[in-house]
């Protein structure tokens, strides 16, 4: 049985083209209700980032994205003063006879403040969806700094004072598990693990995202992908790859998979030379398991 509100959320996500199962919708719902960030982990290409996008669309609000990278610091995440502009402004005002206090008030006004994602999220007029993408790429110092913002929802700008959030954003934090996240961050968040989709779910996603495709081909693609993920590949393809592949095949007006088609389009799915070779070697075996006739026989 499912709570009616959760079902409603699930329907609205589905309307945005995002197929969710019970555990995803439940976690999203709870994170919104309990106002806690949602930490999403899972292999690459399973739609972690997509959650935030469809959430924003479903809630009819803005998506503010903070892409993390190594060396990301407060100036790029919070705010920065537009120094060049401040300098120019001071030069221009030199002859104006304004007092020092007036000048200072001028150059520390909103016009000179460059709002970065976190400050944007806090000062937004309506609860936005704040996506903190690939937090594991930022370093630990940034993680600890983020904790402070995420728990208090306030940012202090020395020249302006403390700014409190007018509307608390819905926060989605994603991680590819490049490094272990700190216990402290985990405890602040609700946790959601998204795995590669089951056959039915993947098929549903293909059919809804690539309407041009026929049922038989979609079916074959899904079965092929499911088998592919069983192999020990260096970079296991995710849903993103499945969709790319499906779109490509649909564009080529292909009706069903066969050996030549797969061989010539495998580069869409596999992004590693060794993986490619491994799959090419075991292609016939794969076909057998998927139940596709190869053109040769």
């Amino acid at each position: 049985m499912e709570n009616s509100e959760v079902r409603k959320l699930r329907e609205s996500l589905r309307k945005q083209g995002y197929i969710v199962d019970a555990s995803i919708s439940l976690s999203v719902f709870l994170s919104m209700k309990l106002s806690k960030p949602l930490l999403v982990e899972g292999p690459a290409g399973v739609g972690k980032t997509e959650i935030a996008k469809v959430m924003a669309a479903a809630l009819d609000t803005d998506l503010i994205r903070l892409q993390c990278y190594e060396g990301l610091d407060a100036a790029h995440a919070l705010y920065e003063w537009n120094y060049q502009r401040q300098l120019l402004h001071l030069k221009m005002e030199e002859q104006s006879g304004k007092s020092l206090a007036e000048k200072e008030k001028d150059i520390f006004s909103d016009a000179f403040l460059l709002k970065r994602p976190l400050l944007q999220a806090i000062t937004h007029h309506k609860s936005p969806v704040l996506l903190i993408d690939e937090i594991d790429r930022a370093d630990e110092e940034f993680e600890s700094f983020l904790l402070e913002v995420l728990s208090d929802w306030q940012i202090t700008i020395p020249e302006r004072g403390t700014i409190n959030a007018s509307h608390i954003p819905h926060v989605i934090v994603t991680s590819n598990r490049v490094r272990e996240l700190s216990e402290a961050l985990r405890r602040r968040c609700l946790y959601l693990w998204i795995d590669y989709p089951e056959f039915e779910k993947e098929l549903e996603i293909i059919m809804s995202k690539v309407p041009a495709i026929n049922q038989q081909l979609g079916d074959q693609i899904c079965r092929f992908m499911q088998e592919l993920r069983q192999l020990k590949l260096d970079k296991t393809p995710g849903i993103a790859e499945t969709l790319d592949w499906a779109t490509a095949l649909a564009e080529l007006h292909i009706e069903h998979l066969d050996k030549t088609v797969v061989e010539s389009t495998l580069g869409i799915v596999l992004k590693d030379w060794q993986d490619l070779r491994q799959v090419q070697d075991s292609l016939s075996e794969l076909f057998e398991r998927v139940g596709v006739k190869s053109k040769m026989d």
Partner: protein, 392 residues
Amino acid sequence: MPISRQTSLAANIVGFCRHLRQHQFTIGPGEASDALNGILVLEAVNDPYLFREALKAVLTKSQKERRRFDELYANYWKELSKAVDSKTKDVAETSNTKGKSSRKRPPSLTELKQWLFGNKNTEQAEMAVYSPGAALGQKDLSGIPRKGLEEIIQAIYEIARVLATKNNRRYRPSKTPGAFDVRNTLRRNMRSGGEIIHLSFRKPQQKKLNIVLLCDVSRSMDLYSRFLIQLMFGFQSTYRNIETFVFSTTIQRVTRQLATNEFDTALTQLSDEVNQWSGGTRIGESLNGFVNDYGKRMLTQRTVVVILSDGMDNGDTDILKESLATINRKSACLIWLNPLAGKPGYKPKVKGMKAALPYIDLFAGVHNTRTLQRALKRFKIKGKQKRLTLSP
């Protein structure tokens, strides 16, 4: 009536949280109250499925915990209903006894002790001859191993300095003219009313490399146990970006156990939670386990992998080769420190060691502080490429 239900629900959830805590979940009162809120928000009190899923969503904080949750959940309510049936135990007692019974494995402190103090020789004697018959005095765990720790830490500081070479995207102030730092310049010149008099510059901050330390703790390494544990602790305490593993027949991550300032605490945690001291040796399988479970996350072009082992292996040599090739390819540098190689005239004769040599960037003999320092001196950084290379 509703109030009594409320309290019993709260009590149950608190009891359950305690149960999880006993199974190494990090759960505090905050999580418990979140769980209760979640249940209320979802109106899940009368829906067993939703109830479980809600608790799962709120109380698990990692994939590992998620996998263990269902079993723990089932166990808890089974025990609870038993207790309620017999009307002899209350919730707290149930969870307590649960915790006790679940701790099947006795603490392996004795194992570690044996591993640590199975040899009583000094470093010099260790090198000369191994005498298994040496008298074993019973010593306090906290007593011995601290000796020599300072030197090791000092030596590791040096390597840490060497490894801090990679440029970062962050900047720090610089005294020499270079990239112009507008922000600081403006700040410094505020007092002269915005007239630019002093200039500030900045330069890129340097970024440390990551270290992955893989320690062989099998029986053949017993002789160097004291040094090994000190080394692991020393590395962990001086170097921040480090992951430590031990292996004999399987790989086990001990970063968490070592992450403390107290050497004694680290020892206790190691002995309580690591159960493969003095085991057999399957280096290949262990390394393969590392590559599969942690490789993708931990091996990058900025990772230095340090393996501490004597290479005496009775596992599969092909797997060893394959794993080492992967590690070599995916990391910046693979260092193998071998306690035996410190002996004059040492030649890698052991099957495992021979197989491993082609994949190793630096092979050095290390069995005590002096040899460690000597090995560390061989690290050098090649000028512009900013990649760790080694002088022969």
